[in-house]
């Protein structure tokens, strides 16, 4: 019995996902004790639907963080692609929801390719390049839209219904949640079992070694930034579908939420470390916090501070556990 406990404790210390899962579970139970409307299927469905954008966008950010870069322009490319696709739908260039999503992904992909080109060809540091491009994309959004909204009545009714119905999964779950799940499964497979995924980890953990072993670093970087852009485009379409309106300032500050989700999920900002499962748990933690605070009666004005405190606590606990893990590993070697 004791040895079983010991091995469980050891497993917990060594598996980040497991400990994060426990934290998430404790969080959920604590919220449930304060307000028993939390763990109902309706609340959870609403939560997943409303946060499907953040959860999906975390994947793009994760891949960028894995190669040791950072992309703070995702929220602006989200707004730009979502806005462009909505404008074209308003002007009647197409009416199908699928085409709208594809156009949005395409525009996001172009934004991401621009980011990738500046970083790989211009040799600009990722944070500076994306800082500049954030301004450019956001400004472009205001210009193409003329600072006006695309409101609900200007969308096709099929598109407005899309975020509220379950057609894609034949009635099982909400469409947006379904898209998120498909993205996570695809990404998990790519990261775990394809050459491309393993190369991303290789570039992130040691660029020189990766270059020497014949990996084209610039090509990988370019692909990863383009991919992050494509995710931003997809999220842009989801965002407009969710709120049935497109505004120039949509997704403002979302890049911070997404980075926080990745970091809580154990993705290292130095690159090479992090898993899809961890990111999912990190993003879910952010979603639970966002949904639960109003439910347990925390004033709306306190929420920002609490969110900041939680991000700080999460990253500090992360470091402390890593230190403990390293100490334990050394101890075992001594014996």
């Amino acid at each position: 019995m004791q040895s079983q406990m010991k091995s469980l404790a050891k497993k917990m210390r060594s598996s980040r996902e497991l400990s994060l899962f426990l934290v998430l579970a404790i969080l959920c139970v604590a919220v449930q004790l304060r307000n028993n409307s939390f763990l109902t299927s309706k609340t959870i469905n609403d939560m997943l639907k409303n946060y499907s954008t953040t959860i999906t966008l975390s994947l793009g950010m994760m891949s960028v963080l894995l190669i040791g870069g950072i992309d703070i322009s995702v929220a602006s490319s989200l707004a730009f692609s979502g806005m462009c696709a909505s404008l074209m739908m308003r002007d009647g260039i197409y009416s199908s929801t699928l085409v709208m999503f594809l156009v949005s992904v395409g525009i996001g992909l172009l934004c991401g390719m621009l980011v990738g080109t500046v970083i790989t060809q211009g040799k600009v540091l990722p944070i500076i390049a994306t800082l500049g491009l954030t301004n450019i994309f956001r400004g472009a959004t205001y210009i193409v839209s003329g600072s006006r909204w695309v409101s609900a009545y200007q969308f096709q009714s099929a598109f407005k219904q899309f975020a509220q119905t379950n057609t894609l999964s034949f009635g099982l779950i909400n469409n947006l949640v379904f898209i998120t799940i498909v993205c996570y499964i695809a990404f998990f497979v790519i990261m775990k079992w394809t050459r491309f995924g393993r190369r991303i980890y290789a570039v992130g953990s040691n660029p020189e070694a990766a270059a020497v072993s014949g990996i084209n670093i610039n090509a990988i970087k370019f692909t990863v930034y383009s991919m992050a852009g494509a995710f931003a485009g997809l999220t842009g379409a989801m965002y407009t579908a969710l709120y049935a309106s497109a505004q120039s300032d949509m997704g403002m500050g979302m890049e911070m939420d997404v980075i926080a989700a990745c970091v809580i999920g154990g993705v290292s900002l130095n690159g090479g470390q992090g898993s899809v499962g961890g990111v999912l748990l990190g993003a879910l933690t952010m979603a639970v916090i966002g949904k639960a605070l109003p439910l347990i009666g925390v004033s709306q004005f306190w929420q920002t501070a609490i969110k900041g405190l939680i991000i700080l606590t999460a990253i500090i606990i992360n470091v402390v556990t890593q230190r403990m893990m390293r100490k334990n590993a050394l101890k075992e070697r001594e014996i």
Binding site: K123, I128, L131, L133, I143, A260, K307, L312, V319
Partner: protein, 341 residues
């Protein structure tokens, strides 16, 4: 041995003369002159000293923050929490004044609050050296803004300009020169002197180039980082006081985006975010370049979003040009591809 060293130095000088026109500072000065010519041709009143100083004062409020931010970037760190620190300090100032404290005490409280914010950043970063400054200050950015929001809610705290001397902090002028401009110049010289002429400044470059090497050469790396982050907080406090004096009222959502503007100013000034590179005069020039460019674009009714776009584009272009040149000369010299960044 000595001749060899001398020859190397001569070669380096020739090279730097040759590339003078592609040097960062030269580009920056050209940009600065172009902006001024453009502004002067747009408006006849632009070169009127009183008008010009009014325009300059508005961006000096956030220009202060670029000084310690330059130190932080030279260290190879980054501080995203400056905007929130300004907001929190200004909030504390307004709230304590309206709670009946004398204005002098309120000003001290704002300075202390800013310093404390910076100190907290510094303590977390030096206690947990594994953490990247980017993510820690991202967290404190949310936290400080959140505390300001907790204190003020959706209200604002005003009436600050009723105190004459406080009003004069921003608006007083000696002749045509605003006092804030003089304070700015004094601080600029002080910060520049410390960075370029003192041991402390050389330590900053050493740490920025390689933290490990600096540590093994006996430089107190973590103490210096702590000092720099605290300094950022203090200057944010100063900026908050000027903001309050300028506007007279404070809300929790003031000074959003200051962090990006301060970083843009420093990076455009030639200081690399990778650390250990760049000099201080570049930063001062770029504060004025960005500020006057914004003012000039405002004169011809360009909306603020387009201005943001133009500044973003300039930032990227200015950073890219020297990189392309380095890449070319590197391939020409050694026929090996330049190392990726």
């Amino acid at each position: 041995m000595t001749t060899q060293v001398k020859r190397n130095i001569v070669i380096e000088k020739e090279k730097s003369l040759k590339s003078l026109f592609l040097r960062w500072e030269t580009l920056l000065v050209i940009l600065f002159i172009v902006v001024n010519i453009m502004n002067a041709s747009i408006s006849k009143n632009y070169l009127n000293a009183a008008n010009l100083f009014t325009a300059i004062s508005t961006f000096l409020v956030k220009g202060f923050i670029a000084f310690p931010m330059a130190y932080i970037l030279v260290l190879g760190d980054i501080d995203l929490s400056v905007g929130s620190t300004v907001a929190l300090s200004a909030t504390m100032l307004g709230v304590s004044y309206n709670a009946g404290l004398p204005m002098g005490v309120a000003v001290v409280i704002a300075l202390l609050c800013g310093t404390l914010c910076g100190l907290i950043n510094g303590i977390i970063l030096t206690k947990f050296t594994e953490l990247a400054s980017m993510i820690v200050t991202l967290g404190t950015m949310t936290l400080y803004r959140g505390i300001a929001e907790m204190i003020l809610g959706s209200q604002s705290t005003g009436g600050l300009q009723n105190v004459t001397w406080f009003y004069n902090l921003y608006y007083a002028r000696i002749g045509v020169v605003p006092v804030i401009f003089i304070v700015f110049c004094v601080l600029a010289i002080a910060f520049g002197f410390v960075l370029h002429k003192t041991t402390f400044g050389r330590y900053l470059y050493a740490i920025g180039n390689s933290r490990v090497v600096a540590h093994y050469s006996g430089i107190p790396v973590q103490t210096i980082r702590l000092i720099c982050f605290t300094l950022v907080g203090l200057v944010c406090g100063i900026s908050a006081i000027y903001y309050a004096s300028w506007m007279g009222t404070v809300r929790f959502d003031i000074a959003t985006g200051y962090e990006l503007e301060a970083i843009s100013m420093v990076v455009l000034g030639g200081i690399s975010t990778a650390g250990g590179k760049g000099n201080f005069p570049g930063t001062v020039i770029s504060i004025f370049t960005i500020g006057l460019l914004k003012y000039g674009l405002g004169l011809i009714n360009v909306n603020s979003q387009t201005i943001l776009m133009i500044i973003g584009a300039i930032l990227i272009i200015v950073v890219t040009i020297p990189n392309i040149r380095v890449q070319r000369s590197a391939t020409r010299l050694s026929k090996t591809p330049a190392k990726s960044c």
